[in-house]
């Protein structure tokens, strides 16, 4: 089947009902595959468990970067507005008195701490999310399959990608066939 300019990209299995794909997902999960996905026309409750997806770690990333933003605000304000101190000859700040308040007074820093905290937290969340879900991605071999168009209509698909460590042309096909799909396809990808 595979000629020299093409290599296997993924197996695609098609199911008719949500129940069938949930049952199949559990089998794939239990077989220990990592690089695979389910494609359904709508969000299905319970698929997280059926696929064995772990909670996202994005919150940890957001929190760390939020706190980094807070720390940045404190350091920046204190350095530039509170002390006459030249760190590694990068230029000294200047003790700034605004409204008769002491230079670098804590209350005046809070809005900046809040804003920078939120800003970096937002950046970390957005770009962390894009990184984790691997976007932007300009193309994916799965779109080579004509049947896959029904994933946005009325069919349910499982794809197991060839870069999965457990991927094997024969054994993976056998596993998918055991889940009673209505159709099964090896999608190929052009090498050159």
């Amino acid at each position: 089947m595979a000629n020299e300019t093409k290599k296997p990209a993924l197996y695609l299995a098609e199911y008719d009902t949500p129940n069938a794909i949930a049952q199949a997902a559990m089998k794939v999960r239990d077989a220990g595959y990592k690089s695979w996905d389910c494609h359904t026309p709508y969000a299905m409750h319970g698929m997280d468990e059926a696929m064995g997806l772990k909670p996202t770690r994005i919150g940890v990333l957001s929190f760390i970067f939020g706190m980094l933003g807070v720390a940045t605000a404190v350091i920046l304000i204190q350095y530039t507005n509170a002390f006459d101190f030249d760190f590694l000859s990068i230029g000294a700040g200047y003790p700034l008195i605004v409204g008769g308040k002491p230079p670098g007074a804590f209350p005046s820093m809070v809005p900046i701490m809040f804003e920078l905290g939120i800003l970096l937290c937002g950046f970390a969340t957005l770009f962390g999310l894009l990184g984790l879900i691997k976007l932007p991605m300009h193309n994916h071999p799965i779109f080579a399959s004509d049947r896959f168009e029904a994933a946005t209509d009325d069919k349910y698909f499982i794809s197991i990608e060839a870069d999965d460590q457990k991927f094997d042309l024969d054994r993976t096909r056998a596993l998918l066939e055991a889940t009673n799909p209505t159709y099964i396809e090896l999608v190929e990808q052009e090498v050159l």
Binding site: H45, D48, L53, P55, T56, F63, G99, K101, P107, P111
Partner: protein, 459 residues
Amino acid sequence: MTHSNQTDYRVGDDRLWKRAWLAPLGLAVVGFLIAVLTADASRLGYAYLFGLFTTATFMLGALFLVLVQFLTASYWGVSSRRIVEVVMSGAPVVAILALPFIAGVAFEKIDIYQEWQSVSAHGEHAEPDSGDDHASDHEEHGVLGFGSGIAHAQAEGEDHGAHGEAAAHEEGHSHTSQEVALHHEIIEQKSGYLNTAGWVARGLGYLLVWCLLALAYFAWSRRQDQDRDPKHTLRMQSLAAPSLILFAGALTFAAFDWLMSLEAAWFSTIFGVIIFAGSAVSILALTILIGLSLHKRGLVGDYINIEHFHDLSRLMFGFVCFWTYVHFSQWMLIWYAGIPEEATWFMKRWDGGWKFVSYLLIFGHFVAPFLLLISRVQKRALPWLQAMCFWLIFMHIVDIYWFVLPQAGAFHVQLADIGALLFVGGVFFAYVFWRLGNVPLVPVGDPRLQRSHHLHQIY
């Protein structure tokens, strides 16, 4: 977990909740004795206001939570709504407990509002009075006459009086007496709003609004338990928006009248919002605590489970942040303007040992809960969540204490304060817990109950 014989989810024969109302009632008796035996007359007014307002905030938070759930037609909170509704249904108890307070102020037996009461009363007699020997010194007389709560200002006023005209020429004093006159002028200008008759009438109005809303929503929800008719839900939804406007207005102005006017010359427009934010935190913490106990004892089956506690705690976390946001905004604006008449309110919450309480609020009501409740893991660890809810309720009590008691002087927790809180809170929660024992613990007739039951938090 679910007892098969409990189809309508009632407290029934549960050992704890059947008699739970006796505990707060006992505390109320103890609190009453403590307050009566230990309090001097000048403290009792502040102590009672503290106890009353702390208790009222639980009821107000509950009223808000019920109304806002109908406003948004949400289903996540339906299964835990009955707990909130029962707390809300204690509104008449708050009203009854508020009546002696309002009467005390009306007949000037409670002197905590003397600062403006004396000015507005003075104002009534202030018009040209032929019998007054000092008619020509009228303005000055006004300065001396008002019963200021500020010892400093009073001392200056007396000083001024002793020296008569001469004092005005003394450099050191003239500035201060100008301030005193200004202070007085502000209060006098407010007397159209801040006068005893208006205060009493508005106070009764707030209580009436809360009682009407609370009793109506509770009655409709109870009726739905029996007839399971979705039309009750639709009616409650369509009335939620105007009800919330009434509720918010009453809460804001109650905060102005009862708490903010303790410092008659001081003003802050966000004041009511701060009280509201604290109320929301307290009712969410209380709902989680009661819900956890009912859940643990198997009284609500699976209707209130970890998914609901997670949602409630998220909202609570949000309101902890919101409380901080509005509290800080108010303080920061006053701090950077640095105008004496505004800063005085905060000076009273800083000097005389109150600094510690202010710091306790910053760290205990924000920093600690923020770090200890931010993660999903923390919110879903129920014993942890339970401890945090107890802590936040304690901090809410400290918050209201910080609003009221600095007006009475230096930081010194008196038995009377605790007694008054135990008495008012005890009577209120005795009623609430007794009520809880007599109604289904979930709104069994609500059309959204099943959806709420199957609530599931996706990551």
